[in-house]
Amino acid sequence: MCGYGPHMNGHSTRYRPSKTEGFEADDPSRQTPALPEAEWQSIRHAILAYMRRRGAARDVAEDVAQESLTKLLAYVQRGRPASLYALALKIAANSFVDRVRQESRYEAPVSFEQASEAPLPDAVASDRQQVAILTQALDCMPPLRRKVLVRRRIDNQSHARIAGELGLSVAAVEKHVVRGLCDIRRAMEDGAQSGKPMP
């Protein structure tokens, strides 16, 4: 009736092994390429939250979200990705990096002399502060965890390779990355709190 392909005709009782678990093949709305409005809003929220955390200005975040959702729609119409959210955030991250690169091409770098005369831009201060907080958090980690993070984040090595070379299991590599992230997040929260003036 709706023309979604031969597998959609009627409610066949045959077991279809190719069907993803929990996928409602009987419900045509799940088969349409467009996503429900609530899903778009939720993905948009994820992108905006991510952009805010990356330090993007409100209007830049809105632009990136708009652009990313348009691209996402084009992808979705061609086929369902493994993860909508992962794809959307990947698109947003790339778009943001492109914008930052373009901006820095047109803007002359600000020298520190100039910056120290004028009120210090928030971004510069928080950036230096962030590096200091991160450095401290990394110093406080077990050295092995730090090594795993360096190999994952800077050298982009695979889990299998890191595991092999450091004598760990793949699960242990994963655990170090996850715990490492939690350590850093906690340090940043603490840093943010101690950075505030006392009332």
């Binding site: 678990e21 990356r54 959210y85 991160l134 406080c140 984040r153 992230l181 997040r185």
Partner: protein, 316 residues
């Protein structure tokens, strides 16, 4: 505590989606996690930004700083963090010991998850196991160093259990207990104390009132207060979120239990004999009204709407 758990889950997903291979099952579970709660999205955004930002890259590239040997600094770090949570003043050593204890205890504190009518939720647990909740269902999850335990307090849920040789995964549904080491299965609490268990992968043991049975993939049982009975595993059992239920001489109570996963209004069968009456057919349980009308017609029953509840009673 919940806040920390969400952060941990966010870190888990950041780690997962930055791998070169991200499979469909992971993708679906991640989407479900993101979709289910704005707090999840916020936590993920913060964690992903930390990972993606160049600041982390720069800090990592710098190598350990000269001050790295200053151990007390780090202890001070930990103390500041935990003092927010623990009132009163504690010595540094005690705070660190407590910090360690909390780290171990956190997963041991039971955590509740539930779903509304017609809502499906997938929960990623810290060991990589996944719980998929049916509509109107609730579980309580508790991870101990020697056991992973889940109580199905209401409704139905499917489990995809990460293999851990030394730590069994247990699901309690009333007096029925399912124990596994690594497998995928589905547990359904029907009306009364009846419980259905279906296994789609691996091997599980089902125990109830002193009896136990081993179920292989493709096998199912129905446990009632009078005993355990092997039943056929149907396509609808495998694809349990399809919105369909096939009753092959199943008690009406089971069908109504299924309807309640979708219904905004609780449906009850006050008369036990009516609940025990067997029904046959394939029912679209996500459309409760048509099912109720169909069974009323076919089995001479009356559907009574009263005070925010629907009762199924005998026709007089």
């Amino acid at each position: 505590m919940n806040d920390d758990q969400i952060k941990f889950e966010a870190a888990f997903w950041v780690e997962r989606i930055n791998r070169p291979v991200f499979d469909v099952a992971d993708g679906a579970a991640f989407d479900e996690w993101m979709r289910s709660d704005p707090l999840h999205r916020e936590a993920f955004a913060a964690m992903a930004a930390i990972w993606d930002d160049d600041t982390l890259k720069r800090a990592l590239a710098e190598g350990p700083s000269v001050a790295a040997l200053s151990g007390p600094d780090c202890i001070g770090h930990a103390r500041r963090y935990y003092r927010q949570r623990i009132t009163g003043s504690l010595s540094v050593a005690a705070a660190v010991m407590l910090a360690v204890a909390l780290f171990w205890l956190m997963p041991m504190i039971p955590r509740d998850y539930e779903s509304g009518p017609g809502e499906f939720r997938t929960i990623a647990l810290r060991d990589g196991s996944r719980v998929s909740l049916g509509g109107n269902s609730a579980v309580e999850v508790r991870y101990l160093p020697w056991r992973r335990s889940v109580r199905l307090t209401r409704g139905e849920a499917a489990f995809d259990v990460a293999h851990e040789t030394d730590r069994p995964f247990q699901v309690d549904a009333g007096a029925t207990r399912v124990s596994v080491l690594g497998t995928a299965f589905h547990v359904d609490r029907f009306a009364g104390e009846a419980v259905g268990v279906q296994v789609s992968r691996g091997l599980v043991q089902v125990g109830a009132s002193g009896r136990a049975a081993k179920l292989h993939a493709g096998e199912a049982v129905r446990v009632t207060s009078t005993g355990m009975q092997r039943v056929a595993m149907l396509e609808e059992d495998r694809n349990w979120r399809s919105g369909w239920f096939v009753a092959d001489n199943a008690p009406l109570g089971d069908l109504v239990g299924k309807l309640n996963r979708y219904s905004d209004v609780p449906i009850a069968i006050p008369d036990k004999r009516v609940a025990a009456q067997s029904v046959v057919g394939r029912f679209k349980i996500s459309d409760e009204e048509s099912v109720l009308n169909a069974i009323a017609d076919a089995y001479h029953l009356k559907i009574v709407h009263r005070g925010g509840e629907i009762s199924i009673v005998k026709h007089n």
